[in-house]
């Protein structure tokens, strides 16, 4: 028998897990063993991923998961390499735990958790080859098995492992939308019958663990947005994040999933609607907010993509001042010129204010060594933009799912990177 709280180790976003967090001390005051566990999660291999079925172990697991996520959000940005590192590690962990539970005969407990997120049914018939009255041809049945074996690189298999490779369930494909969106699943690779994808237990572990990985990335994004609202994260969280960041593999030879997504030239086509409006120039009453507050913070954070430590100085993430002048300040000045009337024509002092908001103090000649003289302002959350400059907010469907313009940008970049389409 598995303890009811054990579900939290398979899905850290279920109500049971949230209750555990709510009834525990704040994450930034966690004991050292939880901190160490939060960092170790990234490197776990096989049995290390398994949690003992007792309340204390489950609690430690859940708290370390949230500490890991919040630590990463403290030192990077949505869909950063760090976010990918922990989402991949989480995927592997969940997958192994599901495998382990199946192996120990706890398939039903596992399915109970899965069914909270995905509409799952068992294939019908003694030999499991029917779905909603539709017969799955025998040949297809075995091809699904063989395809999965080939995917896992297995040529011969013993009877003990074989059941994991036989189609046993069907899952509603629309429930897999988050995976399709992040290209963690491809519709044309699913075996679809009447709205459901026929899958093996192996596929189920993959799909569900990927599902949790996507939610982990989304959670990191939401924490990042919260930090934008309430100010800099605590030192303890930043320390955890820095330690995780130091575990990133070097950029060269990175597996595709860890590849750095956003660093590099700004991609205008992925800017959110509010930033596009600001880039086009705005009228009186809006100019200060659009140019000095929104564009300055957005372009600088989007370009610098600060990761590895808490973002307090742009100089920690950029090594050449020309990036600030040519790639961040120049488009801001051009947008200011497009305002009606041109922003700096009647308010020339605002030029210096741009650099002030970037952290270089009140100047028009920024130097890298001056970075940090003033505060590097974070990108305001959508709610603040709506309140302070409503005409800038013309949300599209993605806007509904994010709370900060930067999340929009990094998510678009991430989707593009996953789709394999070049820039």
């Amino acid at each position: 028998m598995i303890a009811p709280e054990y579900v939290a180790t398979l899905d850290p976003f279920v109500a049971e897990a949230k209750r555990l967090v709510e009834t525990s001390p704040p994450l930034d005051s966690m004991p050292q063993e939880i901190v160490d566990r939060a960092i170790a999660r990234v490197k776990w291999a096989s049995r290390e991923m398994v949690v003992e079925p007792n309340a204390e172990a489950i609690r430690a697991d859940v708290l370390s998961f949230y500490l890991m996520c919040q630590g990463v959000a403290a030192v990077s940005y949505p869909y950063s390499r760090e976010a990918r590192l922990i989402s991949e590690a989480t995927k592997e962990t969940i997958k192994y735990r599901m495998y382990d539970l199946f192996k120990r005969g706890h398939e039903e407990s596992c399915l109970d958790v899965v069914k909270r997120s995905l509409k799952l049914v068992q294939l019908e018939g003694g030999d499991g080859a029917k779905l909603g009255g539709i017969e799955i041809p025998r040949e297809d049945f075995y091809k699904i098995r063989d395809r999965r074996l080939a995917q896992d690189g297995i040529e011969t298999i013993d009877d003990r492992l074989l059941p994991q490779y036989l189609p046993r369930y069907a899952v509603r494909w629309t429930d897999l939308a988050p995976l399709l969106r992040h290209r963690r699943a491809e519709l044309t690779r699913l075996y679809l019958v009447n709205g459901r994808a026929v899958i093996t237990p192996r596929d189920l572990w993959d799909l569900f663990s990927n599902f949790i990985a996507v939610r982990t990335e989304e959670y990191v994004a939401s924490v990042y947005e919260r930090f934008s609202d309430v100010g800099a994260p605590s030192k303890r969280l930043a320390e955890v994040g820095e330690r995780i960041s130091s575990l990133l593999p070097p950029e060269l030879g990175l597996p595709e999933r860890f590849a750095r997504v956003p660093m590099g030239k700004l991609r205008l086509e992925f800017f959110p609607p509010c930033v596009k409006i600001a880039m086009g120039g705005v009228g009186p009453g809006l100019r200060n907010y659009a140019i000095t507050v929104l564009l300055t913070s957005f372009l600088s954070y989007a370009r610098a993509s600060p990761s590895g430590r808490a973002a307090t100085r742009i100089g920690d993430f950029i090594t050449d001042i020309s990036v600030v002048r040519d790639e961040i300040a120049a488009p801001i000045f051009e947008a200011a010129e497009r305002c009606k009337p041109p922003f700096f024509k009647d308010q020339p002092q605002e030029k210096g204010n741009i650099y002030y908001h970037l952290g270089f103090g009140m100047t028009t000649e920024p130097r890298l060594e001056d970075s940090g003289i003033s505060k590097w302002y974070r990108v305001p959350n959508c709610s603040k933009i709506q309140m302070s400059a409503p005409p800038l907010c013309d949300p599209d469907e993605l806007c509904r799912k994010i709370k900060n313009p930067l999340t929009y940008y990094f998510r678009k970049l991430s989707e593009q990177a996953m789709s394999g389409v070049g820039g």
């Binding site: 969106r181 026929v198 509904r400």
Partner: protein, 316 residues
């Protein structure tokens, strides 16, 4: 298919247009949709319109007698500002004038009964896959004036974003080569059917566009088209590469050429764009003097049903 004159547009909206011809799926969400109008044939530049009641819409149509009328596939909290996106239909646009393969001799940009019927058959194929494989059931067909729109309003897909919609386009059109082409059901079957349909429509001239294809090979393929089609339908694509002169590289190029054509049977941009506006069923397509209309039985659709009265009166 001559352009409607301003008088004919007036006649259509005062005598023939009927609110009962608005499909329920639009009628029930009328106030949540953005309406766009082309008032003079220069394009739909009058956007951001909202109608709270069907009577308001009727009044607008009768007073302004627009050249074309459009409505959004999206539902918004504030349609007049296109703000507060709630969800969007899944829409496919199959335009007869843009079909990559046509058996008629229509001039480019024109349509005839034959190619409209070809568009109708494509729409039926797409809808069948949506129903059989994707499990979608609320599938509506609209004759657009020059082809067909498929408008799916199953709740499960209306909140999907662009990436997922792009994947649906790939699936429905058969524009990705599957890992296993010979499975009886699923995408493998869809791909075989689309590939066979496209290959069936090929002639020597079209095949000559495949890079690396020698004339003798093209002639051989055409002479043994039925054999090749049989191989495609059975999922035995390797048999195609057994045709003399088709090496693995040429075979790959042929396959990629056909797959690219598969993707052109619908305008994927329409499906992916969740804020697209489409011609309003019941309205007049003035460019061709045809009614854009909901088609209740696509299998029995007749072009005559979409001909406005004023066209019949033209001869008198």
């Amino acid at each position: 298919m001559r352009e409607a004159s301003p008088d004919e547009r007036r006649q259509f909206y005062s005598e023939e247009w009927n609110k009962r011809e608005l499909p329920d799926f639009i009628l029930h969400t009328l106030s949540l949709r953005e309406f766009g109008f082309d008032l003079d044939g220069t394009g739909p530049s009058h956007r951001y319109n909202q109608f709270m009641t069907v009577e308001q819409l009727a009044e607008y149509l009768q007073n302004r007698t627009p050249y074309s009328t459009f409505t959004s596939v999206a539902l918004y909290e504030q349609p007049s500002m296109r703000k507060g996106w709630m969800k969007s239909e899944l829409a496919f646009d199959i335009d007869a004038k843009d079909l990559p393969l046509k058996s008629c001799n229509c001039a480019s940009g024109s349509v005839c009964e034959l190619c409209i019927d070809e568009a109708r058959r494509i729409a039926m194929e797409f809808a069948e896959t949506m129903s059989k494989d994707l499990g979608l059931h609320n599938i509506n067909f609209v004759y657009s004036g020059r082809g067909f729109h498929i408008r799916v309003i199953d709740d499960a897909i209306m909140t999907l974003e662009q990436t997922e919609r792009a994947q649906i386009v790939e699936y429905i059109t058969g524009s990705v080569i599957p890992t296993d082409i010979a499975m009886a059901l699923g995408y493998s079957q869809v791909f075989r059917e689309r590939l066979a349909r496209t290959f069936e429509g090929m002639d020597e001239q079209r095949l000559s566009k495949v890079r690396g294809f020698r004339r003798s090979v093209i002639q051989k393929l055409m002479a043994e088209k039925e054999r090749a089609l049989g191989a495609i339908r059975r999922g035995k694509l390797d048999e195609l590469s057994e045709f003399e002169g088709i090496g693995p590289k040429t075979f790959r190029q042929l396959l990629e050429f056909l797959v690219r054509l598969n993707s052109e049977f619908t305008d994927g941009k329409v499906t992916i764009d969740t804020k697209r506006i489409l011609r309003l069923p019941s309205s007049l397509h003035s460019g061709v003097s045809m009614k854009c209309m909901l088609v209740r039985d696509i299998g029995r659709f007749k072009l005559e049903d979409a001909v406005p009265k004023f066209v019949h009166e033209r001869g008198h």
